[in-house]
Every structure is written in C-alpha cells, then in structure tokens.
C-alpha cells in the first residue's frame, strides 16, 4: 500500500475463524464465511417458507415469493425453451444465493460491533465453485443428451469448410473461458464495490480527524459518495445475480439445443 495512510481495504475480505483472527492448520474451522453462508441460507429459507401458504388471494409476502419464482421461471423457459423448467432448481439456487449474499454483505450491520457482515460472494472460491457447478450441468446435460455429437457445439452450422478450421479453435477457447468469466463477474463486482465503500468511508473519518473547513468538506463529500455507492451496490448486486442466472440459462441452452 502507498505510504499515504493506514487505509487497508483488503482487511475486510479476510477469512477468519469465529472468535479468532488466525487460521489454524486444520481445514475444519467455522469461519466468518461459513457463518454468513448459513445466514444467507436462513434468510432464503425464511423468505420462501413465509410465502408457501398457497392462499387463493396472495398477500404481500406470498406475492413477492411468487413474483421471484415466476420471474426466474421466465428466465429459464425463455432462454432454454419448454424444457427449461427442469433446470430451474439450479438457476433459482444460484440467483437467490448470489442476490441475498450480495445484499446482506452491503447491509450496515457493522454498527453493532460484533456483527460485521462478510460478503460471501466477494471470494472467488465461492463464485468460482458456483460457475463450476453450472458447467458441470452444461457438460453433463450435453454429453447425456447428445453423446459425442456434443462436440459439434464448437462448429456452427452451415459454416464454409475453409472457415471451420479457424472457427473451431476460437469456439473452443471461448467455451473454456466461460467458467472463469462467469465466476469472475459477481466476485469482482462485489470486491470492487466494497473496496470503494471502504476507501471512501475512511476518507470520511480522516477528514473529520484532520478538522478545518477542508477536512469537513472532504468528509461531507465522501459521505454523500458513500451513500450513493451504497445504493449503487444494491443495484449491482441484483444485476450480477440476474446476469449469473441468465448466462447459466444460456449456456445450458447451448447444451440442450445444439446450435
């Protein structure tokens, strides 16, 4: 870090066991990441459970749950076709997990000292694992439905023979890069947003500490910016969850209906 200050925006991404600040040598530890994954799961379960009353005229809660399931059902059926509902469970899981994790991580629980939120999706190991699951589904479905014919995915239909030799390697590279870009996107979006929040939050405090009209001016500006970025972070969290679900549906579509 530059010599300018004590701003250390990377500290918020540290994975630590609960009640300690040092990882031990064993892999079996209950870390803050694990804790917040369980919190995310609990929020999703409570939200869905509250909407499963099956009333004829839905109340607000049931209507919001039905809107969520209907929305994701549309994503699946519009991208994949009538078969899409078979793949809805994973699309729904990925969307709700990323969405709730993004939003919980942006919540200001830190006002209570011990309850500092940890953004689960700001670690590539989490989003990368989710994109690997997506591609396990793509490969499994593709090879199960089409057998070795699945490799024709790499050669678009009606390509002139001379072009095939150029297009096939490009398509292979494009296919191999997809898992990385799919997992990288939600991860970096959260990573970048939280670094921005941390840096400008530090500007607020350092401005107050330095005092004087310039210091307070900087504080006020930085605070306004933090509020703006905080709102933007909610939007970005929703968009990234939607993009992950949509791209997963599109990649599954490639495997289900070879182009």
């Amino acid at each position: 870090m530059a010599a300018a200050g004590k701003i250390d925006p990377m500290h918020q991404f540290m994975i630590n066991p609960i009640g300690s600040d040092q990882l031990a040598a064993t892999p079996f530890q209950f870390t803050n990441s694990a804790l917040w994954m369980l919190v995310v799961l609990a929020v999703i379960v409570v939200f869905m459970w509250g909407g499963l009353k099956r009333e004829l005229v839905p109340g607000r809660w049931q209507a919001s749950v039905e809107y969520l399931t209907g929305f994701l059902g549309n994503v699946a059926t519009q991208s994949i076709g009538p078969e899409g509902r078979k793949y809805l469970p994973w699309i729904f899981t990925a969307f709700t997990f990323i969405l709730v994790a993004n939003w919980l991580g942006a919540m200001p629980f830190g006002i209570v000292p011990a309850a500092h939120p940890f953004t689960v999706t700001s670690q590539f190991s989490i989003t990368g694992t989710m994109s690997i699951i997506s591609f396990a589904i793509v490969l499994g479905v593709g090879f199960y439905k089409h057998g070795l014919h699945f490799f024709s995915l790499f050669v678009p239909k009606d390509t002139p023979l001379a072009l095939k030799f150029f297009i096939a390697p490009v398509e292979v590279i494009s296919f191999l890069v997809r898992p990385f870009s799919l997992g990288l996107r939600p991860f970096i979006a959260m990573f970048a947003g939280h670094i921005l929040l941390d840096v400008f939050g530090n500007f607020v405090i350092q401005g107050i500490n330095s005092g004087g009209p310039v210091g307070y001016g900087v504080s006020v500006l930085a605070f306004a910016f933090v509020v703006f970025v905080g709102a933007l972070e909610l939007l970005v969290g929703a968009i990234q969850a939607f993009v992950f679900a949509l791209l997963t549906a599109l990649y599954i579509n490639d495997a289900v209906n070879l182009h």
Binding site: M1, A2, A3, V75, R185, F191, I239, V243
Partner: protein, 75 residues
C-alpha cells in the same frame, strides 16, 4: 523509482480501462434506448439481450479494476 511509487503509477494507468468499460456500458444502454424508443413494443423482449451485452462490456472494466488492485497490493 522505488517499488511503491511504481505500483501506484501502474495502478493508475491500469484504471484507465475502467473508464473505457464505462464508455462501452454507456454505448450498450444508449443503443438499446435508441432501438427501444423507435419500437417500444419489441423492447420488453430484448432486456435479456441487453443484460448480456452489459455483462460482456462490464466484465472488461471489472478485470481492469482487478488488475489495478493486484498491481497496487502485490508485495
């Protein structure tokens, strides 16, 4: 030039890519609006395509940001 100042300069140069991605994202949404205002009836069905284009453009900016962070915090 010592390592720390070289890191800060390099991170600043790498962050130019974020602005370039901003141009790309603006172009995606601007073009969508141009098309959508000419044929509002067809716009609703194209939001999925819109977000794919947005995601492709935004990913490059995010990658530029990640590179800047790696340069800045590499030891």
């Amino acid at each position: 030039m010592d390592l720390a100042s070289a890191q800060v300069i390099g991170a600043g140069i790498a962050a130019i890519g974020v602005g370039a991605a901003g141009v790309g994202v603006g172009f995606v949404f601007g073009s969508f609006l141009q098309g959508a205002l000419r044929n509002p009836a067809a716009a609703g069905g194209q939001t999925g395509t819109l977000y794919i284009g947005f995601a492709a453009a935004e990913l490059l900016g995010l990658m530029a940001f990640a590179v800047a962070m790696i340069i800045l915090y590499a030891r």
